[in-house]
Symmetry: C2
Subunit: 135 residues, 2 copies
């Protein structure tokens, strides 16, 4: 069975990354690693390491996407919780066998990682992202 | 200046811990450390280690509290993000000097830890808890 390694990140949806960094970086004192444009997800992401994990500030760049609509409807706040596993295919097979409702039945390949979302209905309203880091 | 150590936990507010464990423990495969009655916060808490941090499932035991009302209004989901620091008094002094809106101006003493909440208005809608572990 796939092994769960750690909380990879907590993603926070924000209206404006630059403004948000006033709190997380300038006031709280965390270090910004970098800000990345992620056009495939219509967002800008600020990566902020905390211990073995990260806080990610995610700013939608298109308000017609799922994330943009989420922000309009619910406002800023925590958006998803990402858990890193050593074998995402094994994990997805196992969850499917257990009848867990998934958003992604098959992992999506992104540079450096493979990922899939579990449906919040299966997880107490939490959008859970699974990550496997690949070399 | 106080040092930030790690994400100590992500708290998820749930209606029923036993039912919630079906996902987090039985389906996802995390290990439950223990469930604790926390009468001072009118809640039951399930502690679930993940890497160097934890997921905490928090079930209000009194729906007239802030947490109970939050659950009624917003439903289940992520409730707060706890960041562990090495010097909570120093951190609170620093945040106050920077004009950050706090819920607790002074740390509360609990067994094994000292804690304070930052107001979600200061932190992109995220209720941020600060923790200092004490021996």
């Amino acid at each position: 069975m796939a092994k769960i390694k750690k909380i990879n990140h907590v993603a926070i949806v924000v209206r404006d990354i630059e403004e948000s960094l006033r709190f997380w970086r300038d006031q709280l004192g965390l270090k910004l690693d970098h800000v990345e444009d992620v056009p495939s997800q219509a967002s800008m992401v600020a990566f902020i390491p905390v211990g073995e994990g990260e806080i990610e500030l995610v700013q939608p760049t298109d308000m017609d996407t799922g994330l943009g609509k989420y922000l309009e409807k619910r406002g800023e706040g925590m958006h998803h919780l990402c858990i890193e596993v050593d074998d995402i295919d094994g994990m997805l097979d196992d969850l499917k066998a257990k009848g867990v409702q998934l958003i992604d039945e098959v992992a999506r390949d992104l540079p450096g990682r493979r990922m899939a979302f579990i449906h919040p209905r299966a997880a107490n309203g939490v959008l859970v992202e699974l990550y496997e880091i690949v070399e």
